[in-house]
């Protein structure tokens, strides 16, 4: 039976000083009772706006400009606040993205449950009910007494999920529920979600940009592009026979890192600007199969091979044929999207390995925290040794809290190890003992070791131009003055693929896309001409469709400039694509190391296997549910 009907829904943003922006355009779909529907798309495609419109949580300047949403016989778009309140949470609940802010920071978790029960006049003992709900999401009852800031991201997300299920709703809208969480934590939450759905039978609208997760979890998947649904079919159908070129492009960014040959692709270009009128198909500028008609005629969403697709070429059956089985999908998925840049893994045996530029020798770092009179110690890093070599990428993988970032701080000299040595051998002079540097010598050392940060949105000063961001290291480290700065900045931008540089120099960060910003951050790191580049999760904040692009850039820079790179990540697919060598870090200890293909293709350590099993893998959905117990025991409290 149909639970949710969305009919010709449009949402328009009308900001005060900017042109109106139709974020969602003429969207129609249904969700049946108990159905798990995924909604997939890049950031800015309108998927969260659509989710908020379904919940009627849009706030100005966004408003529903057409169509309606009918939930269980009630027209949500026109219902009064009172009618809506009766529906809310009892039938229709939600979990927001990563829940960093979705719990009230000044009241305890218990009070947030109590609020919910009181609002819907549910009698009985709040503590008992809330404890029961927390058990559903594998959380201990002491969480009830905690304030949100005392919980980890994963725990907050579980609380949010428990809260969403509190009144046994018929539909839960999950908006990027695991984005920003560690893969292992993500895996355990998703596993629990799937189990709960089987037990309780609620329907789900699962909004995500993470195709792996969506395809693995959902019965049916809708793909959104430029505010429109471009494809809507069963998850299995989409996996085996994606019909929209955009869907195919997204699928191309996935691969199973364990396979002997790994290849991913990316979608060149950027999503359309929805504040301007468009003719023809919105995807045309990025589409490899576009024809003349695509530029003129706006395609309709029409039935096609058991699903719905909005593509003239697919509807007229002129797309190149692909019919892939789950087994060989990953190996060849990239091939049916002839993107300009395909990134293959370095593979093969490396060339002759040059002398190490940086050695980390039996390094440990112990933190002492004092609370009142009691002191407690944490061993963030224990007895870690590795070397970095020019022209090679060493990946450091592990969950959050495994000590990855501590190692980065030790290597850059921000912190000193409790024991062990960090030696830099790449300078012109004698070997530098990084763990003993201070003052001026430390500043001199840092020109050789530069960082690319995780979040390109906060790594650049929003009030300064790109030219300014690049000029700082050029003035401070390279000692350039006058017009030389601008010339060198332009060269740097071109070396990271932002050409012609003149277009970018005077832009402010907010005028650039996420991928472009990360390129600027990379250019800035290259400015002092470093020998070692430390990239701390450089792609985790970026859209899936452009991640491969940044990886490709980093790979090229390493090989062309003979940089030694320490690539810090929890994402084994990207490590597989970029790195020559992999170090697996678990609770501060290196548990496995070796050439990338050996470590990832044939992991020996349980922890490495846990990380590998946690990666959302649409190509092997059947084997997931069995892993749950392993995952939970390894991540108590999540």
């Amino acid at each position: 039976m149909t639970l949710l009907q969305v009919e010709n829904l449009s949402v328009t943003y009308t900001p005060r000083d900017l042109p109106a922006n139709r974020a969602v355009h003429d969207v129609t779909f249904d969700i049946d009772e108990g159905e798990f529907v995924g909604l997939l798309g890049e950031s800015g495609c309108g998927k969260s706006t659509l989710g908020n419109a379904v919940l009627r949580l849009l706030s100005p300047p966004a408003r529903i400009s057409g169509g309606r949403v009918v939930f269980d016989g009630v027209d949500v778009t026109t219902a009064s606040e009172d009618e809506l309140r009766a529906l809310r949470w009892t039938d229709l609940s939600t979990v927001f993205q990563s829940s960093m802010n979705s719990l009230n920071p000044v009241i305890r978790v218990q009070a947030q449950f109590a609020d919910t029960f009181a609002a819907h006049r549910i009698p009985g003992d709040v503590t008992a009910r809330a404890t029961e709900l927390l058990e559903l999401v594998s959380l201990d009852r002491h969480v009830l007494r905690a304030y949100p800031h005392e919980l980890s991201g994963g725990m907050k997300q579980r609380v949010a999920l428990a809260l969403a299920l509190a009144l046994r709703p018929k539909l839960v809208v999950l908006d990027e529920p695991t984005t920003g969480l560690d893969v292992v934590v993500q895996r355990s939450i998703l596993t629990r979600l799937a189990e709960l759905r089987r037990e309780l039978g609620f329907a789900v609208l699962f909004i995500s940009h993470d195709l792996g997760t969506v395809l693995e979890m959902a019965d049916r998947v809708m793909v959104m592009y430029g505010g429109e649904i471009v494809e809507n079919r069963t998850a299995a159908g989409m996996l085996h026979e994606p019909r929209h070129p955009y869907t195919r492009g997204l699928l191309g960014s996935y691969a199973d890192p364990r396979l002997p040959d790994v290849q991913v692709t990316y979608i060149p270009g950027r999503p359309p600007d929805l504040s301007r009128p468009h003719r023809g198909c919105l995807f045309t500028p990025r589409c490899p199969h576009a024809e003349d008609a695509c530029r003129e005629v706006h395609p309709e969403l029409l039935p096609e091979r058991g699903g719905l697709v909005r593509c003239l070429v697919a509807q007229e059956d002129r797309l190149p044929v692909v019919r892939l089985g789950a087994a060989d999908a990953a190996a060849t998925i990239g091939s049916h999207f002839p993107a300009t840049g395909a990134l293959t893994d370095p593979g093969g045996t490396p060339d002759v390995v040059a002398e190490a530029v940086l050695s980390v020798d039996q390094v440990s770092k112990r933190y002492t925290t004092r609370r009142g009179l009691r002191t407690s110690t944490t061993d963030a890093v224990r007895d870690v040794s590795f070397t970095l070599h020019p022209g090679r990428v060493t990946a450091l993988v592990g969950q959050s809290g495994s000590g990855k970032s501590t190692i980065a701080r030790l290597v850059t000299g921000v912190e000193r190890p409790s024991s062990g040595e960090v030696r830099f051998e790449g300078g012109s002079g004698p070997t530098v003992r990084v763990d003993r540097l201070r003052g001026r010598a430390l500043v001199d050392y840092r020109r050789h070791v530069q960082m690319v940060f995780q979040d390109p949105f906060s790594a650049l000063n929003p009030t300064r131009t790109v030219a300014y961001a690049l000029s700082r290291p050029l003035v401070n480290f390279a000692g350039l003055r006058g017009t030389a700065i601008r010339e060198r900045s332009a060269q740097l931008l071109e070396s990271v693929g932002l050409a012609p540089a003149g277009q970018f120099l005077d832009k402010l960060p907010h005028q650039l896309s996420g991928g472009q910003r990360q390129r600027v951050v990379t250019a800035r790191a290259l400015a002092p001409d470093p020998q070692v580049l430390i990239a701390d999760e450089p792609i985790s904040m970026l859209d899936v469709s452009i991640r491969a692009e940044i990886l490709e850039l980093l790979g090229e820079l390493v090989r062309n400039r003979r940089l030694a790179m320490l690539y810090i990540t929890h994402d084994l697919l990207s490590a597989r694509l970029l790195a020559d060598e992999v170090l697996v870090l678990n609770q501060g200890v290196l548990v496995e190391r070796g050439p990338t293909r050996d470590v990832i293709g044939a992991a020996r350590d349980d922890y490495t296997r846990l990380l590998l099993d946690s990666i959302p893998n649409p190509f092997a959905p059947a084997k997931r549910s069995g892993d749950a117990s392993v995952v939970r025991s390894a991540q108590p409290g999540g």
Binding site: W89, H149, A160
Partner: protein, 331 residues
């Protein structure tokens, strides 16, 4: 508990620094107060008789010994509440003068500050609750308009209309000539009559800052995810406004309010001057214009200590109100 202990140590440290600066600053200034008095008594042109100077020094109790000995003496005197003799109100002590002025200010300014904060917070909450409605426009625009009026002009207007034209209230002073300070009904009602106009002047402008601050903070916290989720959870509007909006929005205002209360001790110079009100503000003005160093110094010290104590209390209160602060300090 570590949070509160840390706050207390910080408080003691700042207090000591404030007391020491209060000792040092006048000594770093050029000029000698005794010479200033003599030259004022004798007229600018005449030469100063050393004996006269010595007499005045003894009379004023000007300290002797080196700077460090003076400092120790000063600390001892401060702890005992002895701030010396006022130059202008000789032979009254500074402590006596402050004791005379303080109740007037504490009652007038303190009470109006508290009322301003309560009224301002309530109006700000109401405006944010009814965001973009007529209520919001009236409150926001109205308070912005009143905030642009010069305070002294407003005060003079009140005097002109209600004291001079309508003769409803006395125009100046803290109490009339017919009554003398004491716990008599005549005096209290007389003092109340005198305090109405200054209080009204303070109450017109007082809540504006609280209104704007509260409204903006609350609009912001109501826009956050947890408040949107509360809407999705079907919580009643009023519950969302109070627990998910006002409860969070009031936090920064608590600190502001404590500091405002602390600075009451220094008085409000403008209002006390315009209404010729016998409080700390007027005393401060007089001490500055007549170079009454001991009095000035004592008033400054009072103000500083007031702000510090208030700040300390605000920190304690904040620790109770915002669980995040306690955690951040200990982590």
């Amino acid at each position: 508990m570590a949070y509160f202990a840390r706050r207390f140590l910080f408080f003691i440290g700042t207090l000591w620094a404030a007391v020491t600066l209060n000792f040092l600053i006048p000594r770093l200034q050029p000029g000698d107060p005794a010479e200033a008095i003599v030259s004022r008594l004798a007229g600018q042109s005449e030469s100063i008789d050393p004996a006269q100077l010595q007499a005045i020094r003894i009379m004023l109790g000007t300290p002797d010994g080196n700077l460090f000995e003076q400092y120790l003496q000063y600390l001892g005197a401060v702890v005992q509440g002895d701030f010396g003799v006022s130059y202008t109100y000789f032979p009254y002590s500074v402590t006596h003068m402050i004791g005379q002025a303080l109740p007037w200010t504490v009652i007038l300014v303190g009470v109006t500050q508290i009322i301003s904060f309560i009224v301002g917070t309530l109006l700000g909450t109401w405006a944010a609750y009814r965001r973009n409605s007529r209520v919001d426009s009236v409150i926001t625009l109205g308070s912005t308009f009143l905030g642009t009026l010069p305070f002294f002009w407003l005060a003079l207007l009140l005097i002109y209309v209600f004291a001079i034209t309508l003769r409803w209230f006395p125009e100046r002073g803290g109490y009339g000539g017919g009554s003398s300070p004491g716990w008599s009904w005549i005096f209290i009602s007389d003092a109340f009559q005198h305090s109405v106009l200054p209080a009204v002047a303070l109450l017109i402008t007082g809540p504006i800052g609280w209104i704007i601050g509260m409204r903006n903070n609350m609009v912001q916290s109501l826009g956050e995810d947890h408040a949107r989720l509360a809407v999705a959870r079907g919580l009643p509007r009023r519950r969302i406004a109070l627990t998910y909006g006002a409860r969070i929005a009031i936090l920064p205002n608590v600190t502001g309010f404590a500091i405002a209360l602390g600075s009451v001790l220094g008085g409000t110079v403008l209002v006390e001057t315009v209404f010729n009100y016998p409080g700390m503000g007027r005393l401060l003005l007089e001490s500055v214009s007549s170079r009454d160093y001991p009095l000035m110094q004592a008033i400054f010290l009072f103000t500083t200590v007031g702000v510090l104590v208030a700040n300390f209390l605000a920190d304690l209160l904040y620790g109770f109100l915002d669980p995040r602060v306690r955690k951040a300090e200990t982590a």
